[in-house]
Structure formats: structure tokens, C-alpha cells
Symmetry: C2
Subunit: 380 residues, 2 copies
């Protein structure tokens, strides 16, 4: 009834509050989904949101100007003539609910969620009483490897993937894309949550045939802007009717911020904001990587494009990061905190791991990270 | 799988398009949820939305300033110290989904939806595989009468009501409120969709004990503003945890427009907009009522406060308004269209009925209404 993952987060928040009571200041959480004042300032200076013309009326995908929708599709898929449908939601959580409900309505039964994924994906399946298997990628020599054989063996009708690989900012390899293409050729449906995907990395732009592909895109979320955003679901035309019908039940009309965000996405200013975001993450990644070089026992990925990445500690174990006592000791010893990676769908194979959010990067972040690395990298 | 009510609306829209093909202009739909240019102009001139400070970060009910939430509750419930919880959604469709999922999670089984209600309420129950009965009020001498005995006989655990009575702008009588109070004293839960309720008419302000009461309020929707709005769910404190947990799964973070709308609601300008709205509806109602006096066979209600009301035709039957051929003939004969009341949960007891939306009122509306009344009131 209650959600374990949320209880686990609340447990960590409780420890953070305990710490605050003792030391007058919350520990610095390096995994949080918030952003630094520095990032906010840079982005707010850069962003020029268009004027709003949608104060009064109800707005739905079907009430949008057809040209606007076409331009939106053309910017998401610049090199392809796309004949599929589109539906808009205010955020990807609602897009996930919409697609999950559609799977249920169309009686899809054999569903696999490929972890790591945002935890709401499997919970949305629970909400609609839709059974699903959860498989998890493996990390081999700094690469994430899909359990190809297990997927084939189980003959899933639907494979729900997340790209970039959740909390890593790494994209699937060409070999993986070929694998997905083959599954789709065999009539399997790929549902791809690409809400963190940055421009140019969309799977829909890397595959030839989109007849069995559903993608979710949220270009503002992908650059750390979450007040004004939209989530576009792109899907084969045959799903148009069922998705449009259920929008009225599941998500309702779109807020003004959705239309503003779409118009903004279509303006050059979005591309400028994307550049600001990329520069920020590139700089932060460079500095963090340099810092990490002076520590032992830590393994990280070569980040392709994005704000999140995950740190793996060879000297520590999955049992340790699962232990709330260990977390409490760590927080009280360092004044730094994290959300362990098991909260993001990383299972025991990944050992002691947590993600850091580079949109938080500033001096305070770096100091908090140093304190934590000093403590963890030599922990025995 | 598809939704009958939406197919029925699409069928009427198809006829409207047929008409447009023939005559170059769509027929005027008097029931639509849109607003006239005149209304939009007056409201946009009146409304002063506060500046936006929530461009970047994720926003959830729990991340809002506690004072803001308290002020919001105090404006919704000015005369009472309210100790219940609050959760915010971008619109009431999402509030309905949130509450329905909560009912399922808490294993409520014997649920009754009192019609007329927005069609998404029962469909949300379908989406979560939650069985429910639908009972319908009766209209006796221009009053809407609740099926008291049937409700008592069936010993429902949850009674889901809509106030004002959907598409009528009429509020439940004091006798009805007493009835609801008694049900709640007996441990029954009342869920009240009051998204169309205007200030001062809230059931939560008319009952003594809120321990078994869940209300949904959307002050901007209630005055015809749908781009910037919020829906507040007020509920007994014991539901706090389950609602907060599932927000992450069902609705996600709140768009910037929600926080803007809340701040606007708390400003005096909201009260001014409410006045603008009330004047508009009051004037429109006066003019429409005067017009109706010159026609036979039509029965209407004494509208309390709101934009929607329903017309009943004594010379016509439920079978006629259910007949798509009749609707086609009506549209092609008059250039006017409506959405029949069965789409809003009015069953055969209500005969030939449709709602009109006074937020559409202007000259064109009045002319279209006249054409329709000329045709219908003497139809044999």
C-alpha cells in the first residue's frame, strides 16, 4: 500500500533532519534532484519564455494547432518523416501512466521493465494491476550490458527501457539498438522512457522502423527545467484513439506551462539553454573527474551527455549501502548524504553505488563530495 | 476499451463537421466547455497573475511553503480551524485519479457514485478495476432529490458526490447536507468533487465534522480559468501518507502554473476575478431567462451561482435526444448544436435535456439559442 522506495527516501531524510537538529544545518545531499543556486541563476538568465496565450481555455493535444504539433515532431525527429501519433502530457510521470494504461487496455500481458528505471514505472504497472518482470542491466568494464538472452528466452511482448540508462547519462550502444530493432521486427513493442534524453541522442532517431516503438521525450526536464516542461509521447498511429480517449480520465487538460514550454522548445532560445546546460555539466564533470582521480577504489562512467552519474566503490558492499546504520554513520561523519542507487533500480550486482547530480555542482557541492570521498574511499 | 461517452461526443462533432462542409461554418454548440471572446476579454483584462518563481525546480505539495498551504486552507475554509491534510494537483481530473487510487489502496469496496457527475469519475474507477454503483438524483418540481433510501439500503462505504449538481449550478439543500452528515457519523466516507464550486458554497464549510469528508476544490476552474489553476484535495489527516506516496506515481511534479494559480488565489485579484465572473453569469442568466419566458414546454432551474445550467423540454423525450438522427436533423435545421445531458450523467428520468454554458454568452450565442428554441419548443 505504501511505497517502499519512498519510505527508504523518507528514512534518509529523517536522518538528515536528525543531523540538522544536532548541527544546525542539513547535510549536503549529493544525489538530490534539485539544482544549485549557480545553475538556477545561469539558466534563469538564459531562458526567455514566450508570452502566454492560454490563460483561459482548456487545452488538450487535440486542441493544439496542427502546425505546432508538426513542428514539435520535426524538432524531435529532424531527419525523418514521422507518421506516428503524438500525445502531450505535463510531465513524464503522466506519460508513463498514459502508456501503462494503454498496455492494460490493449491486453499486453508479458511485459519486462529493464532496470535501472525511474521507480514510478513499475509502480504505475502495480496501480493498474498489470504484472511485469523486472530485469536489470549489468555493468561490465564500465559498460552497461543488456541481458539479451534472458529477454529473448522470456519472449516478452513489451520491453520497457530507459534511455539514457537511468542515473548514468550513458546511452545504449549500437549493438543494443540493433537488438531493440530485431525485437521490434519480431513484433515486440519497445516502450522507451527518454525523458532525460538530450537532443541528438533519441532512440527514435537511431532506428529505422518506428512501427513498434513508443518514445517519451521531455526536452526541458532533460536540461534541468521542471516548472515549464512537457512530455511528448510518440507512438504508432494505431494507438492514437485509445490514448486520446483516456487522456480525459487520467491526466485532464494541460496547464498553460505546457504550451509555453512547447513554444519555447521550438524557439532558438531552447537551443541556447541546452548549450548553457551542456557547458555547465561538461565543466562540472571535468572538475569532478579530476577530483576523483586522487581517490582509490572508485569507478565511474564516461558520461556521454547529461547531469547524473553513478559512483561505484570497490572497497564497499551492497549490504553496506543497504544498511541504514551505515548511512547514518556516514552522514554524521561527513555532513554529506546521498540516495543509494538501489533507489534507482540498481540491484546487488552493482555493489556500493550512488548517483550524483551535477546540476547541484558548485563550491559547496565539491566540498561535500570531498568529505564523502575521504570517508568512503578508504573505508575498511 | 474505448470510451462510449467520448465516441458519442465525437459523433456529434462529426455531424458538426458535416454541417461545416455544407455551409462553410460550424454550427454553434451551446453546451461546449469553451468561452466566448467577450468572456475571455473581460477575464484577461481583470486577471493579474503574480510573477513566477518556479521555473527550474521540481514542485510538489510537500515542497511548498507551509504558510502558503495554510493560507490556502484558510481561504478555502475561512470560518473553521481545519486539521486535515491537503494535496495539490494541476487539475481535478488528477485529483479524481489520486482519490480513486487511494480508495483502491485502502480496500474500500462498496462505492456509490451519485450522478450527474463528470464522466471521468466512474471511468477512473474502471481504470483501477474498482467496482462502483451509479445512482442518479431525481428532478422533482425543479429540485434535485437524492435517492436517500437506496443509499441507506445499500449501506455504501463511500458516496461520491458532485457539488454543484453537475451541469446545473445548483447546490445541495440543507436537508441533503444533514443526510451526508449522518452518513459520515455512521462512518461512511463522502468524497465530494467541488471543482465547479464557487466561493462560499463549499460543503466543507457547511458540515460540522470533516473526519470522513474528502473535498476537491479548483477555484480558478470554477470561474472559467483553466490554463492557470490548481485542484486542492482536502482530506482527513489519516490519508496523508498514502496520498503523498502515490503522487509520485500518478501525477508527478506540479507545473509552474499551479504555484502561480495558488499565489493568485491568495491575492485580492482573485476575488475581483470572481466578481467579474459572477457579474457575467448573472447578466447572462437574466437575459437567457427572459428569452426563455417566450417559449413553451421548457423547464429550467433557479441557478444559484455558476455558468452551466440545464434545459428540460416537456414536449420531447429521452429517446429523441438519444437519437443521433434527431440530433443531425436538429443541427442541420438550426445551425445550433448541443451536447445532450446523458453525456453528463443524466439518465432517462430527465427526458430531453441538455446543458448550456453561459461563459459562451454573447450575441452569437443568443441568436443560436433562439434558433434552437424556435425549433425544439414546438417540435411535434
Amino acid at each position: 500500500m505504501l511505497i517502499e522506495r519512498i519510505n527508504q527516501i523518507l528514512q534518509i531524510k529523517d536522518i538528515q533532519l536528525e543531523y540538522k537538529k544536532k548541527f544546525g544545518k542539513e547535510p549536503y545531499n549529493l544525489s538530490s534532484w534539485l539544482t544549485s543556486e549557480k545553475f538556477k541563476k545561469e539558466m534563469i538568465e538564459a531562458i526567455k519564455l514566450p508570452t502566454d496565450n492560454s490563460i483561459i481555455e482548456y487545452s488538450y493535444t487535440y486542441s493544439f494547432n496542427k502546425n505546432l504539433l508538426e513542428n514539435l515532431i520535426n524538432k524531435l525527429i529532424p531527419e525523418k518523416k514521422y507518421s506516428g501519433g503524438i500525445s502531450l502530457a505535463a510531465n513524464t510521470t503522466q506519460a508513463i501512466v498514459t502508456v501503462t494504461n494503454m498496455l492494460r487496455m490493449l491486453d499486453y500481458k508479458n511485459i519486462c521493465i529493464l532496470n535501472p528505471a525511474y521507480f514510478s514505472v513499475s509502480k504505475a504497472h502495480d496501480a493498474f494491476s498489470l504484472p511485469c518482470d523486472i530485469l536489470t542491466v549489468e555493468r561490465v568494464n564500465g559498460e552497461y550490458v543488456i541481458p539479451y538472452e534472458e529477454i529473448l528466452k522470456n519472449d516478452y511482448d513489451v520491453i520497457w527501457i530507459t534511455s539514457p540508462i537511468f542515473s548514468t547519462s550513458m546511452y545504449f550502444s549500437n549493438q543494443d539498438i540493433d537488438f531493440f530493432e530485431k525485437l521490434m521486427e519480431d513484433g515486440k513493442l519497445i516502450v522507451s522512457d527518454e525523458s532525460f534524453c538530450t537532443a541528438g541522442n533519441e532512440i527514435i532517431n537511431r532506428i529505422n522502423n518506428t512501427d513498434n516503438f513508443i518514445g517519451m521525450y521531455s526536452p526541458h526536464k532533460a536540461i534541468g527545467v521542471n516548472g515549464y516542461k512537457f512530455s511528448a509521447i510518440l507512438f504508432p498511429k494505431r494507438f492514437d484513439e485509445i490514448i486520446e480517449h483516456w487522456v480525459d480520465i487520467l491526466t485532464g487538460n494541460l496547464p498553460a506551462s505546457t504550451e509555453i514550454a512547447i513554444n519555447h522548445y521550438l524557439s532558438d532560445n531552447y537551443d541556447y539553454c541546452l548549450e548553457i546546460y551542456r557547458n555547465y555539466m561538461h565543466d562540472s564533470y571535468g572538475k569532478i573527474k579530476k577530483l576523483l582521480e586522487s581517490y582509490n577504489n572508485i569507478s565511474i562512467d564516461q558520461v556521454d551527455d547529461g547531469s547524473l552519474f553513478t559512483l561505484y566503490f570497490k572497497n564497499l558492499t551492497y549490504e553496506q549501502i543497504k544498511s541504514i546504520d551505515f548511512i547514518r554513520k556516514m552522514i554524521f561523519s561527513t555532513g554529506s548524504s546521498v540516495y543509494p542507487s538501489y533507489l534507482n533500480g540498481f540491484d546487488e550486482k552493482f555493489g556500493f553505488a550512488f548517483r550524483i547530480n551535477m546540476a547541484l555542482y558548485d563550491n559547496e557541492f565539491e566540498i561535500a563530495l570531498k568529505r564523502l570521498l575521504d570517508y568512503l574511499s578508504e573505508y575498511k
